[in-house]
């Protein structure tokens, strides 16, 4: 994991700044996919505020940018401005597999009404924007959530 680049990327994409100091903690995001019977899925994990306004992108699984348009919720929320995702891109996730990434999230994102979305899409199959939507709370950490189409369970751990 290129944590240095990750940190730099996050510093850029995270709009929330505490004057002079950014307090963040490492959070592990674990998403297990169902056996949906298709090729490797593309995922976008991103944060929006309570009203749905885009905050930041945490991770994009799936390197080829021409398929990113299928992650429609993320595209719509971020307005297509996803220039800074180079450091937070990884391989696509196969059916039945698990994506496990650790990202640094600012403390201020928790218990403030922010929501974590996961968009999923796979080749020749349906696009599933906001397959999972979870509020970011300290209490919700570690609690598995089921997704709509592709995701079996998702947990975020502190």
């Amino acid at each position: 994991m290129r944590s240095k680049t990750l940190l730099a990327g996050l510093a850029m994409t995270t709009a929330l700044t505490v004057p002079g100091l950014v307090m963040a903690r490492p959070v592990t995001l674990t998403a297990t996919l169902k056996n949906y019977g298709g090729n490797g899925a593309y995922l976008a994990l991103y944060v929006t505020d309570a009203s749905g306004a885009y905050k930041s992108t945490l991770w994009v699984a799936g390197p080829k940018s021409k398929y990113h348009s299928h992650l429609s919720g993320w595209q719509r929320a971020s307005g297509g401005n996803v220039a800074g995702i180079n450091g937070i891109t990884g391989a696509s996730v196969g059916a039945g597999r698990t994506l496990k990434v650790t990202v640094d999230l600012a403390d201020a994102l928790f218990d403030a009404g922010y929501k974590l979305h996961i968009d999923v899409a796979a080749e020749d199959m349906r696009d599933s924007p906001s397959d999972v939507v979870v509020p970011l709370t300290a209490a919700g950490a570690g609690r598995p959530v089921a997704g709509r189409s592709y995701i079996q369970t998702f947990t975020y751990g502190l």
């Binding site: 019977g37 298709g38 090729n39 080829k64 940018s65 021409k66 990113h68 348009s69 429609s72 595209q75 719509r76 307005g79 297509g80 020749d124 199959m125 349906r126 696009d127 599933s128 924007p129 709509r148 189409s149």
Partner: protein, 736 residues
């Protein structure tokens, strides 16, 4: 050089290539199957709005409607048990079946793209596609060279069965393979981002709508204006989000539709890069163009057969080029044999000559003509055995010979003899051998024997050359060349009819029973092969090794083996055959002669024969189920004595297997030869030839020469000559 590249490339990529083409062929059928299972939309079209409304009515939670390249319409919706997808009938929106993309197809596609090895696998697949393209192009180049130029590329190929198979299949598969490989390379480069395939950004999401109630889908104008045939995908707005839009993708572009006002909000036409990409994608996979898929799949299926036949050809050539046993070093040899060979068969003859000379105590050195050394100090004689390639050029192992000859100054003290190998069906029969002979004579070399030619690797002609050589060398040289060593089978005589005894031309028509062909024997390669009239029966008299060839007058379907044999005074084999009585046996095998056959099709054929030459012609007439027009010109001595097949011919005319018979006899009043009769029928023959007729001539050498001359004369007004017809495959001879 080209052959070396072709061979090396083929051998190195054979395994992934087979995997790729077989998986590709399997995949190529899928679009056709898909198409077959698709319900067609209503004939006068249906708008997207209409279909969407009907579908939404039946499946309330519909999220997305997709139209697949095969024309299938699929609705994705949130069912009671979770996300579901159904194939819907485009006319009514009724779900027809659950949408279940074939796991087998997906597995096969992933295998075909990358052998399940991710990006590395994709690179390998791309490299193999490139290799196949190079193989196809090099193969095409070699075939053109062999045929004698690009203008003749699509002619019927010639040569023995395996060569013809490889060339014919190659000709058929070329276009499909070029399309497949080029599109595959394009797709590979696109995947790796080396070729752009359209911008990755769609149209910008429009700003929020004013709010209000959403229109019913059927009333949305933007969707009403689009026919189902144009649709790719329609995504419904999220019901939980009042600010969401329809997202529409059609064949022309993509955009958003406002559910409140029904208007098209943001629209972006597909970029040219994307259109090109999609076209190439469709050409490669056949999705949406199912017939292209099937054609490309068939071409791909040719590759394994090409691989096997190519390997067989390579192996045969390699075996023939094995170093000759007991080859004496050049310095000490008193006899040098130089070999010019393309397919390797000339090497076999050289080997026989080498063995015979060595047996007589000579020190023989055999080498390819390209390896012609500056001097052979001890050599007293040099034999140049050479074939001719394509349109009269040097074969592979002699390509550099004439240049090398220029480099060598003084003519040696040894004497030379050139023996050319060729096929009289080729227009430039033994051309290279003649060139070599002329070049050597010009340089003042002394010749031992004049140039001789051997037609179609005939061991008899080779043996005769051996006898001439014996006389000149003053020793006993027997060249008993047996090209392949096929097994002989015993044939039992069932019937014989004698002709011609009164006119001193004793001829008999012998009919043998077909040897039993058990399946096991056939599999072991020992069965009696399938044969047709025009092929040759090789009879091996007991105690001998050199077979004698007779043209077959029957085909396998007639269920007997029939030949016409003229008794030659002192002839060992003909004497044996004439002494046979029903129940007696002979040992024989079949030698294929595929070049002497009526061409496929229904064009008229003119059959010209004399004496025993009528044999194969009778076989062709017998086999003429299709009743194509056949005209027979037959010459003999006396109708009462040696009119072979007299009774059968009448039956064939009644049956319309034979259109007309023109017979002429030399020993009766007002008789003549076959060529005289041809002259009388000049007009008719000219008309026939103008209509595309083919001419087959079978008989003795003199008769064939006379016929050729006569035809040449009578065809002058048409501007054609027998040689021109020969090039097109319309003038075939079986001459002995």
């Amino acid at each position: 050089m080209l052959r070396w590249l072709h061979k090396v490339l083929a051998l190195s990529v054979v395994i992934p290539l087979m995997a790729l083409v077989v998986s590709g062929s399997v995949l190529s059928v899928m679009p056709a199957l898909d198409r077959a299972g698709t319900i067609s939309p209503p004939a006068d079209g249906i708008s997207v709005a209409e279909l969407a409304a009907r579908t939404a009515a039946i499946l309330p939670g519909v999220e997305q409607i997709k139209r697949l390249p095969s024309g299938k319409v699929v609705a994705f919706y949130a069912g009671t048990d979770g996300p579901a997808a159904n194939v819907v009938d485009p006319s009514s929106g009724e779900p027809v079946s659950t949408y279940a993309p074939s796991a087998f197809e997906r597995w096969m596609t992933n295998f075909h793209r990358s052998f399940f090895l991710g990006d590395g696998g994709r690179m390998v697949a791309g490299a193999v596609a490139l290799a196949l393209l190079v193989l196809t192009l090099s193969g095409v180049q070699m075939t053109a060279r062999r045929m004698g130029g690009w203008a003749r590329f699509l002619d019927r190929s010639r040569g023995h069965a395996m060569e013809r198979l490889h060339a014919d299949l190659g000709q058929l598969a070329t276009l499909g393979l070029i399309v497949s490989t080029l599109t595959a390379l394009f797709l590979s480069l696109t995947t790796f981002g080396l070729i752009p395939d359209g911008p990755s950004q769609g149209p910008a999401f429009p700003t929020m709508a004013q709010g209000g109630r959403a229109l019913p889908v059927a009333r949305i104008d933007a969707l009403r204006g689009i026919d189902l045939g144009q649709l790719r995908q329609l995504t419904f707005p999220n019901p939980a989000d009042p600010t969401d839009f329809f997202r529409l993708t059609t064949a022309n572009g993509e955009g958003y539709v406002d559910p409140m006002s029904g208007e098209l909000l943001a629209w972006q036409d597909h970029a040219i890069g994307r259109q090109i990409y999609e076209f190439i994608y469709r050409m490669h996979t056949g999705r949406g163009l199912w017939w292209v898929g099937v054609l490309l799949g068939l071409s791909a299926l040719g590759v394994p057969v090409l691989g096997v036949s190519g390997t067989a050809l390579w192996w045969r050539r390699r075996r023939a080029n094995e170093p000759i046993a007991a080859n004496v070093p050049a310095r000490t040899a008193d006899t040098v044999i130089l070999v010019g060979s393309e397919g390797g068969s000339t090497w076999e003859f050289a080997r026989t000559l080498h063995a015979a000379l060595s047996a007589n105590g000579h020190m023989v050195h055999t080498v390819a003509m390209n390896g012609f050394a500056r001097s052979y100090p001890a050599a007293k004689r040099m034999f140049l055995l050479t074939a001719t390639h394509g349109d009269g050029t040097a074969p592979a192992s002699a390509a550099a010979f004439l240049e090398r000859l220029d480099e060598i100054g003084a003519s040696p003290t040894s004497r030379f003899a050139v023996l050319g190998f060729g096929d009289r069906q080729f227009p430039q029969f033994c051309r290279f051998a003649r060139d070599v002979d002329a070049a050597l004579t010009r340089r003042g070399w002394t010749s031992l024997l004049p140039l001789e030619t051997i037609d179609r690797q005939s061991p008899e002609e080779f043996a005769r050359w051996g006898e001439a050589l014996s006389t000149v060398m003053g020793e006993d040289l027997v060249l008993a060349h047996v090209p392949e060593r096929p097994r002989t089978r015993a044939l039992t005589l069932i019937d014989r009819i004698d002709y011609g005894t009164e006119v001193q031309a004793p001829t008999c028509v012998l009919r043998f029973a077909l040897p039993a062909r058990s399946l096991l024997a056939r599999l072991a390669g020992r069965g009696w092969p399938h044969f047709s009239a025009g092929d040759l029966l090789a009879v091996v008299p007991p105690g001998e090794t050199v077979p004698r060839y007779y043209s077959l007058a029957s085909s396998a379907r007639d269920a007997f083996v029939e030949i016409c044999v003229r008794k030659h005074p002192g002839g060992r084999c003909s004497g044996l055959l004439h002494g046979l009585r029903p129940g007696d046996r002979i040992e024989a095998f079949v030698k294929a002669n595929p070049s002497f056959r009526p061409a496929q099709g229904r064009k008229p054929v003119i059959l010209i024969g004399a004496g025993t030459g009528i044999g194969p012609l009778a076989g062709f007439i017998r086999a003429n189920d299709g009743r194509r027009p056949l005209y027979l010109y037959f010459g003999a001595r006396d109708p009462e004595s040696d009119f072979l097949y007299r009774r059968e011919i009448q039956g064939w005319v009644d049956d319309r297997r034979l259109t007309s018979l023109s017979s002429v006899f030399s020993r009766v009043k007002d008789g003549g030869y076959v060529q005289d009769r041809l002259r009388t029928d000049s007009d008719c023959l000219r008309t026939l030839v103008g209509a595309g007729a083919q001419i087959l001539v079978c008989g003795g050498r003199e008769m064939a020469a006379g016929v050729k001359e006569t035809l040449g004369e009578l065809l002058v007004p048409t501007g054609l000559t027998p040689d021109l017809l020969k090039q097109e495959g319309r003038y075939l001879e079986d001459v002995y």
